[in-house]
Structure formats: C-alpha cells, structure tokens
C-alpha cells in the first residue's frame, strides 16, 4: 500500500518536473495570436481603426476589445482573413471607420511646400525626406497611403495619388464565361 503510494507520488513529481521544465524551455514570447492578426493587417499604420497603429489594433482584436471590421485599407479581403483566423462571422466594413479606397501614395507639391517638417513628424513609416525650411518629398515606394501627413500640412500641398497599373503590377483577370455564347 505504502509502496504503491510512493510510486504514484514519485511519478507525479517526475511528470511535474518535466512539465515545469517544458513550460520554461518552450515558453512562447509574446502572444502568437497578436502576431498572426498583425500579419494579416496591411501595416498602413493609419489609425483609422481607432488605435495608434496596426499592432495595437491586433492586440485589441486579440483581447476582444475591437471588432474585426475596422480596417479600411485591409478591405473586405482582410476582414475575411481575420474572420477565418478567429473563427468568426464575416461582417462588412464598419462605415464609421472609413471606406476602402484604391491604393494611393502621398504626393507633395514641391512648389508650395514651405519646409515646416510637420508631415515628416506625422509619417509613421519615415517615408518623407526633407529638413526644416528645405523642400520635402515622399519616397513613393515606402509610402503606405495612410493619409496621416495630409491634415498637419499648413499649406495643403499634399495630395493622394492613386497608383497607376503598370506592366509589372498588371494581373490576369478571372476567366469569365460568355453567357450568351454558353447559352
């Protein structure tokens, strides 16, 4: 009787030690769910969702504080991916957070720029170059199109320009069946 108890107890201690070791050895840093959500978000860092950047929004979704339909740049496809990931129902983009727009980049009218550096400070991805009282310009390939630079500009010299389709970015269209011919 005693020996059986001892054996069971020692097994419990051994397994407990293994589990304890595993918990330290294989500890996951950070919340993997937040990382997964963040990977789906478009990283425009525009704040239209009401959070200061994509990562805080991902955190809020993971905590159940925010809904999945608050990201206009991610659009419908982003919401679908989030719904898939989190096992929730798809819902259309919430209107109060904005509308889905074609991908654009900011453009600074260099004739009107006064070199105040306000847009440089507003840009979340450091995509604007310039210095005080020097002309500023947007590094277009780095611009995420978040529009955060538009409001601070005192002379309204920043506009959003939709990216034109080029040979490089052109996509084959989804094959469509000619219904008249098929009928």
């Amino acid at each position: 009787m005693l020996s059986a108890l001892l054996i069971m107890a020692s097994i419990a201690v051994a397994l407990g030690a293994v589990l304890g070791y595993a918990a330290i050895r294989f500890k996951v840093e950070g919340d993997p769910l937040v990382e997964k959500i963040d990977a789906i978000l478009p990283q425009t860092q525009c704040g239209q969702c009401g959070y200061p950047g994509c990562k805080p929004y991902a955190q809020a979704i993971a905590n159940g504080e925010a809904d999945i339909n608050q990201c206009p740049p991610g659009g419908e496809e982003g919401i679908r991916k989030l719904a898939d990931l989190l096992g929730r129902e798809f819902k259309p983009l919430s209107e109060e957070h904005g509308v889905e727009k074609p991908k654009s980049v900011a453009f600074i009218d260099e004739q009107r720029c006064i070199g105040c550096t306000l847009c440089i400070q507003a840009c979340p991805v450091d995509a604007i170059v310039g210095a005080a009282k020097q002309m500023h310009t947007v590094v277009a390939p780095l611009c995420t199109g978040c529009e955060l630079c538009i409001a601070p500009c005192p002379v309204d010299c920043i506009t959003m320009e939709a990216l034109p389709e080029t040979v490089e970015t052109w996509k084959w269209k989804y094959p469509v069946v000619d219904i008249r011919r098929a009928a």
Partner: protein, 563 residues
C-alpha cells in the same frame, strides 16, 4: 551519334504547321519609318534611359542601362535621331504602356564602334558583364538574362542547346539552324567554356531534318563532345525541363532548376547572339521573327527590335479580310496582341495572323467532368484539375501546395480538355494574384519594420534627451556647489530624482540670487540730480495717492521709495 532517349510525361501532338513558313530563307526586314524601342523588354526587366530627345544615335549605341539583377541593356537598333522618350504600348497581354525610345532612322545604318571580346584571355566575370552590356537575353521566349543564367560557372556538366522549337507554326530557330549552324555552334562553344560544361548536346525535334543535317555538318568540323540529337516531335519537347529529361534522363524536381543537377539549357538563337556579341561586339539589336498564319507570303524575317508589328506583317502580304487578331508567340503559349502598332521585342519569335478558319473559336466552357485527361497530358506531371478547382475558388494557398508554380503554361491540359475549360487562363489568374499578394505582403513587412524602427527611434531620442538633461543638471549643480552657493544648494531639493525638476529648481535659485544681487543696484550710487528727480517724482506720486495702490505698475518703484 545515337543516344538513348528518355521520354517526358504527357504532351500532345498538334498539327505542326511548320512547312508554311520554313521554306523561304530569312530576309532582312526593310528599315521602318520609325522605331519604338521599349526600355522594358519584359515585365520584370527594366532599363534606365540614357538618351534625350533630339540626340543622334548610332546603330548599336546603348540607349538603356541595365537596372537591377535581372536587367539587361537596350541598344539603338539603327542610326538616327531620338525624337521622343515617352510611354508607348508594349506587346503584352495587358496592352499597357511602358517608357520607350522613339528613333527616326537616318537610313545609313552606321554602326557605333564595336569591341569584340576575347573571352579566352579575359576573366569570366568580365565576359558576363560584356553579355549584359550587349543586352543578351534568352531568345526562346522568356528573355531571361543570359549572364544571370550562366551563373557561377561551376557544377555544370552538360550544356544543352535547345533547337526543339516544339510549338506549332514557329520556324525562326529552324531557319536559323539551317542558315547559320556554324555561328550557333561557335556561340555554343563560348557558352560551354563560360559555364564549364564538358558535353554539349543539341536537341532538335525530328520534324526538322534540314536543320538537323545542317547542325550535323557544322558539328563535324568541331572537336569532340558535340552531339546533335533528334528528339521526337511532341509538344512541349522544347520546354526546358522536358528537353533535359529527354536528352539526359534527369528529372528536375518541383521548384528546382536544371543548374542544380549539372545541366543548363540555352536556346539556339541565344547561342547565335552570344557569338555575335563576343566575336564582333555586336549587341542584340535584331532577331528572326516568323510571319505566318493567315497571310499570303509566310516566312521568316530578321527584324530590328522596335519595328512596328504592322510594318512586319505587311511584308507577308496585305491583311486579309478574315484576319480577326494577331498572336505573338505560338498558338499554345502566345497571346493576342492588343494593337498592331506595338513594336517587336527581343521575345517576339513569331507573329501569327489568326482567322476563325485557322483557329476556330473554342466551344463554350462546360463543367469539369473529372475525366483526368489533363493530368495525363500534363508534361510537368501536375494535377491540372485540382489546380483548376483551387484557382477557380481562389484558394491560392492550396493551389501553391499543388505546385501551381511548376506549371509552364504550355496549354496541353486546355488542349485535351473535353469540357473546353480555359485552364491556363485560370492558372495565369491565380499566379498573378499570388504574385500581387506577395508584393503586398513584402510591402507590409517593410512598413511594419519601418514603423517599429520609428517607434524605437523616438523612444531612443526621448531617452537621449533625458540623459542630456540629467547631465546638464548635474553639471549645473556641481558648478553652483563649486561657486560656493551653499544657500542655493540648501534651496535645491537634495539629490533630486527628476533631473528636469532639479534643473528648474537650480535655475530658479540662480534667478533668485541674481535678483537679490541686482535689485538694489539701480538705486545705489545715484548722482544728486537723479536723486532729486526721483524725490520729485515720488512727491508727485504721493500727492496723487498712487503710491498706496499695490498694483504691479507701482511695485517696482517701492525699493526706490524705501531708499
């Protein structure tokens, strides 16, 4: 020379339609009135413009410098004047425009100074740079830069020269092999030396006996190790992996390249261009183009890059009334040109005038009946029906799992499909959609990285500022202590935790001390006249009863009155 050949899986045997255009020799196309040379010769390779409108250029002069890893140079196809550098439509399924140099020929065809390159005496990397500067790209259709394909020059045992030309209607390589076999083999020897291959195998489809004969004759004069091997005519025998498998028996696995298995493959026309570039220093300014299909005089022409396609087609006779579109490339892998004003590119191997008689419109698409005919025909040994379902339902992850990117878009599956499903269109759609997502994803990753770096930078700046402030505060305190301001030291909070507060406190104490020191100064040591004046003013003030008011304006006067 006999050789054991292995077959490749699947494939089809459509009507070859080679005899229409293969009979007549290659003729040089006349100089057009205007040449439009796109600086982007393929969707991924772009060149930087080196000329300005109004500039005189000579034939073979570089007008576009290679940009990026996959870039190659672009050259003026003839001598003349650059009249414009602007966006012009390029021969691409999209019909979109790209930056092009428009040249008005002067009709003299004056060459720029050409520099032949001694590839035996000079280092290998210089030879590759020479090929890049000569704009040499693979002429089999994909226009992959040859200097990139030549790689590191180690580990390659067999160099395969691809003269299969398996796609129906096209005969440009056939004619080139018949007429310039010696030059092709000379180029192949250069490639062989650059790539360090021991064996050279030329694979030619057996429906081109004249070309095989010509290449045999040319190879006979060369020292050993050159084999000209007829391969069974079966589309797509000229696909790189298919030809490698036929000639060497090596099966290249999914997602790998021939180079990893000691085999590299070049097109015969590319070898010819390499020979011209090395022996004469000639850059790639022209290529052989097959004109065929619904035309009066089909044949092959040597056309300058940038020649408008309508000018070329006019050489094969007037446009027939029933020609409904023009295909660039073959009927299997080519595409219908969006307009005929587009120029010849380095990739333009064939132009087919199509009519409903030659290419009847496909019957309506029906539902997939899961017969598996496509899987039997697929030369890449994929499962086209699975890929079709995944592409159709936009399940791109699954499509990639089924090796969508090993699809060579040869069109065999669509050719055999009894339900007439345009399978390749679905694959192309899925591929370009996946590429677009990859681009978006890498842009998002970059944005995330930059955003995080910016946050980190702002944090760092804040810390640096705080540290600077603390240092300054400490310095001030030390200075004040040294000046013997015991009172100040007593006033300041002892060992202030917040350096900012300490600094403010120190500044305040300093100001107080200064004030205390300075306040009496302006009423000390006054001259008798000034003192009398002050007394007079004070007397008037008292008379008005102003001095009693304790507001701010009167306050500064108080010390004077007291004195």
């Amino acid at each position: 020379m006999t050789m054991r050949l292995s077959g490749f899986h699947g494939g089809i045997e459509p009507d070859a339609h080679k005899h229409e255009s293969s009979g007549a020799p290659i003729v040089p196309a006349p100089l057009p009135a205007r040449l439009v040379v796109p600086l982007r010769q393929s969707a991924r390779a772009v060149a930087e413009c080196l000329v300005a409108p109004g500039q005189q250029v000579l034939k073979g002069e570089r007008i576009g410098a290679p940009e990026g890893v996959l870039g190659t140079a672009v050259h003026a196809p003839t001598s003349g004047t650059v009249i414009e550098v602007a966006e012009y439509p390029m021969p691409h399924p999209s019909g979109l425009s790209t930056l092009s140099v428009v040249i008005e020929p002067d009709g003299e065809e004056r060459w720029t100074a050409l520099h032949p390159f001694d590839w035996r005496a000079r280092p290998r990397n210089e030879a590759l740079a020479h090929l890049r500067d000569c704009g040499i790209v693979g002429l089999g259709g994909a226009t992959f830069p040859s200097h990139v394909k030549l790689g590191t020059g180690t580990g390659i045992e067999v160099l395969i020269l691809n003269g299969a030309e398996c796609e129906p209607w096209i005969t440009c390589d056939d004619r080139l092999m018949r007429e310039r076999a010696a030059d092709i083999l000379a180029g192949a020897q250069i490639l062989r030396e650059l790539i360090g291959a021991g064996r050279l195998v030329v694979g030619i489809e057996d429906n081109k006996p004249e070309a095989i004969e010509a290449m045999h004759a040319a190879a006979a004069g060369l020292d050993g190790g050159v084999a000209v091997v007829p391969v069974p005519a079966r589309y797509p025998a000229g696909g790189e992996k298919q030809l490698i498998r036929t000639l060497t028996g090596i099966e290249i696995p999914y997602g790998r390249l021939g180079g990893e298995f000691g085999v590299q493959c070049f097109n015969v026309a590319t070898a010819h261009a390499v020979y011209r570039a090395m022996a004469f220093g000639e850059p790639m300014v022209s290529r052989v183009v097959t004109l065929t299909g619904n035309v009066d005089r089909p044949g092959n022409v040597e056309a300058l890059i940038g020649t408008p396609i309508e000018d070329l087609l006019a050489l094969a006779g007037p446009r027939r009334a029933d020609t409904d579109r023009v295909l660039m490339g073959g009927p299997m892998m080519g595409f219908a040109l969006p307009s005929l004003t587009v120029p010849v590119l380095k990739a333009t191997n064939c132009l087919i005038a199509a009519s409903p008689r030659l290419f009847p419109p496909a019957p309506p698409e029906q539902a997939c009946i899961r017969c598996g005919a496509c899987a039997r025909a697929c030369p890449a040994e994929l499962q086209p029906f699975e890929l079709y379902w995944f592409a159709r339902s936009k399940n791109f992850g699954k499509a990639q799992e089924y090796h969508l990117f090993d699809c060579i878009e040869c069109g065999c599956c669509a050719y055999v499909c009894p339900a007439h499903i345009p399978l390749v269109d679905y694959y192309r759609f899925a591929k370009s959609e996946i590429w677009a997502r990859e681009r978006d994803k890498s842009a998002a990753d970059q944005a995330r990285e930059r955003f995080e770096f910016r946050n980190w930078r702002q944090e760092r700046e804040k810390e640096e500022k705080a540290a600077k402030l603390a240092a300054k505060a400490a310095e001030t305190r030390a200075r004040l202590a040294a000046e013997g301001g015991e009172a100040v030291a007593a006033d300041a909070p002892p060992a202030a935790e917040d350096p900012k507060k300490a600094l403010i406190a120190a500044a305040l104490a300093r100001a107080k001390a200064q004030q205390a020191a300075a306040a009496p100064k302006n009423t000390e040591g006054l001259s008798a006249g000034t003192q009398a004046e002050i007394d007079e003013i004070e007397r008037r003030r008292r008379a008005l009863g102003l001095a009693e008011t304790a507001d701010g304006t009167a306050a500064p006067d108080t010390p004077a009155r007291d004195a």
